[in-house]
């Protein structure tokens, strides 16, 4: 018994003794709290998640890139320059000299050709980005070649708009992997995929040190990086899913950057001198998908009415609180041809009039599948309130992400409230989902968002297909402007906001770059005072 009491006293003493924690992060290391539990793979041929894209963007070099402040400026990375043939079907890239992989081997045109072919042959989620150019497992060995160490040749099946081809090559699937290293780990003809899922074979400014799923991701600097070694020798990303916990860590200085702060945290840190906020508009929109199987929603007047029943300003100011801006076209601002017209505003009288014209003067009842995250739930509640003013009874069906998405994909919803993120930096990425639906039947081969909402965009499908073949950039821009206008007027989508990414950054941290896509969030320029 005496031992027990002694233990009790010791326990209490231990619990209350001030064990001081290290307050500051090292000067040459960047420590970040970031919800990285969406990473399911580290292979650039498979990565298709936000934080995975950020990983590949910092660890692999891609063929080409664009200016993150002006996306229309495309520049070479691994490819120094390129030529497009007269007929628009052959692209010849000159590969930069002096790039070395982490293995020490020099990067050659063969590595680049191998990487692109590998994407097509493995045929994983993002493979369609390259597959759009008529590349298949059967023809890719002849369509993508490396005649010498400095020349990469890509042949496409149609004379596509050069911007379309080039923007697609800026995506994660354009990452160059180390052929020798990857093939050394090949198993059962998988081109090293199983291995690369958890390992690294790149030439980027950072190299993978260690990935512990749902826990942490750590990178070390590539001191031989061809475009200058990063100042941060280590980047440590700790998975912290709870925003309030991220806030405390940031305030205390245990981390340099908090990546998933929500409205509450942002508000309470606003006046903190040690913390600044960095913002960047992303290629993601918040929208409502209105199923055309629903008799009310298939009425064009009702669709128009709903567009007048969103409290755009209220939601942007109070719910998104800086994490989004009003945006009503399907192409996010920053994309080639994006329209920034926002003709709709909350106008209950106008909506009522439209409902009356539609034959529903007393409104109707409808359900909305709502992912149970804070922001989406709050948006749904705001909609519920404004719709009730026009007599529409909105029933919110809450569910987890997987649940609501499963229902949406099976076309079993009335209304789905969600986010849509662009897959690559070309406008076709969203046009081909919001304005294109070649087959509206249940067993269609392609199931874009238009299909999910059982909407046949009619002539827009052909117009979307024509836009990727328009080689005159100005004409191409006009085509997308026109498509956006049509979808806005007639479509079953109420596009409401464009997402803004906000990072809470300690004031001694400089040059952390946020780009329009998660691929473009760069650590290599970061310095600390």
């Amino acid at each position: 018994m005496r031992k027990l009491i002694a233990g009790l006293i010791l326990g209490t003493a231990l619990a209350s003794a001030p064990i001081s924690a290290m307050a500051e992060t090292p000067k040459n290391a960047l420590v970040m709290a970031f919800s990285i539990d969406d990473i399911i793979t580290l292979d650039p041929a498979e990565i298709f998640e936000f934080s995975g894209a950020e990983y590949s963007g910092n660890t692999y070099d891609r063929l080409i890139g664009y200016d993150i402040d002006d996306v229309s400026k495309i520049h070479g990375v691994v490819a120094e320059s390129w030529d497009v043939s007269e007929d628009g079907k052959t692209y010849t890239f000159k590969i930069r000299d002096g790039i070395k992989f982490a293995s020490g081997d020099a990067l050659t045109a063969e590595d680049a050709a191998f990487s692109l072919r590998r994407v097509i042959k493995l045929d994983l989620s993002p493979a369609f980005i390259l597959g759009q150019f008529g590349l298949t497992k059967d023809n890719v060995d002849t369509q993508i070649t490396a005649p010498d160490d400095h020349t990469l040749v890509l042949k496409v099946d149609k004379p596509y708009a050069p911007t379309f081809v080039l923007y697609c090559l800026t995506a994660g699937v354009g990452s160059v992997v180390d052929k020798k290293e990857v093939m050394a780990h090949e198993k059962d003809g998988d081109m090293g995929h199983e291995w690369l899922k958890t390992n690294y074979a790149g030439s980027g400014p950072f190299e993978l040190n260690k990935w512990t799923p749902n826990e942490s991701l750590s990178l070390v600097a590539n001191d031989n990086y061809w475009d200058g070694a990063p100042a941060m020798k280590r980047v440590i990303i700790r998975s912290v899913t709870e925003a309030a916990s991220q806030q405390l860590l940031l305030q205390k200085g245990d981390i340099d950057i908090a990546r998933n702060l929500e409205a509450d945290q942002i508000a309470s840190l606003k006046d903190n001198k040690d913390i600044k906020f960095q913002k960047k508009s992303k290629g993601t929109v918040w929208y409502l998908g209105l199923s055309q199987k629903n008799e009310y929603l298939s009425n064009p007047k009702v669709r128009e009415a709903l567009k007048y029943l969103v409290d755009y300003n209220g939601i942007a100011d109070t719910i998104l609180a800086g994490r989004g801006t009003i945006h009503q076209a399907f192409l996010p601002d920053g994309f080639l041809g994006a329209s920034n017209d926002n003709p709709y505003k909350l106008d209950v009288a106008k909506a009522k009039e439209l409902l009356k014209e539609a034959g529903y003067p007393d409104g109707f009842s409808v359900t909305m599948d709502t992912r149970n995250t804070t922001a989406i739930t709050a948006m749904a509640q705001s909609l519920q309130a404004t719709w009730s003013l026009a007599g529409i009874n909105l029933e919110i069906i809450p569910g987890d992400g997987g649940q609501t998405l499963t229902k949406y994909r099976a076309r079993q919803h009335d209304i789905y409230i969600g986010r849509w993120g662009a897959d690559y930096q070309d406008p076709n990425t969203n046009a081909s989902t919001f304005a294109w639906n070649p087959d509206n039947s249940d067993d269609a081969a392609a199931k874009p968002l238009a299909w999910r909402n059982s909407w046949d965009p009619k002539e827009m499908t052909a117009e979307t297909e024509a836009a990727i073949l328009e080689r005159d950039t100005q004409k191409r821009i006009d085509m997308y402007k026109d498509l956006q206008k049509k979808v806005m007027d007639k479509g079953p989508f109420v596009v409401m906001f464009q997402e803004t990414e906000i990072a809470g950054v300690r004031s001694n941290v400089q040059n952390f770059k946020l780009g329009p896509s998660f691929d473009d969030n760069k650590y290599r320029f970061v310095t600390k005072d």
């Binding site: 989620s125 749902n214 997987g402």
Partner: protein
Amino acid sequence: MSTVTPAKRGGRKRARLLSGPGGSILRVVSSVIITFFGLLLVTFLIGRILPIDPVIAAVGDHASEAIYNRVREEMGLNLPLWKQFFVYVNNVLHGDFGKSILTSQPVLNDIARVFPATLELATLGTIIGVILGVPTGVLAAVHKGKWPDHLVRIFGLVGYSVPIFWLGLMGLLVFYMKLDWVAGPGRVDAFYADFIEPTTGLMLVDTLLDGDIDLFWNAVSHIILPASLLAYFSLAYIARMTRSFMLEQLSQEYILAARVKGLSEFRIIWRHALGNVMVPLVTVIALSYANLLEGSVLTETIFAWPGLGLYITNSLLNADMNAVLGGTVVVGAVFIGVNMLSDLLYRLLDPRARR
């Protein structure tokens, strides 16, 4: 543990086998196997009934229809349910729990990583809970109806009724932010995580094995708050149960006899009464320990503690069934293990149970 009587003549041989010296082991093993099988079946069915498509977790929402269909087939989801279950159990019997969709790692590797995190937290939490909870309960029983009793009741009530989420954040705010007594979320400071070689997976043990005292204290400063929080919840329960067990004992005649004999009150309470309370208390403590070992999702979320609770929840929400089933097996094993342990302790503590 009564002897099995043979139902019919032909059953005699089997019955003798079961009641012999090795019989109880055989019986335990067979009941464990049946329990696990049932557990797997139920979890499997729940997982398949969930209105969540596991293929989305594997390929993402934007993958083409062709890839979606191919992966669905690869995952065996186009097979009939019974066949899927058969394939799964067959693999498990060959020691293959499959790979997790979400981590691309074999499920066993994942569990070997997340379970120690939970084990460490739950064990420390239970130790603190017992060290503080038992004496608190005894005090409340001895001073029944007086202020120490009321104090303990209120303290316990708060432990039961305040959401752990709120309490966790408040704890961080006070002890981490304001007072600087403990470290923040995470098992060690983020920067250190790179330098620890996971030998056992238990931070407190691994840092000592590495001989790194600074890191050990860093890990202590991280674990003490979440462990105390879990301890508070088990403490509230343990104290309440101790109190009622003690009250029952204190009204027994042997206590009166001991008092008449002139034994000191200290000896009567802490030795005679508490000694007899220990047996039922072991069950209470074992159960509360087993509960903590399942992992507490909320605590793990706030404290960025990559444990079993978070792992199973995340997997379930994405219908990552290999991971869920693997986690379920572990939780089942923990419950069975803790139960066996408390049986063993029974025999040590209670001479009657040894007969």
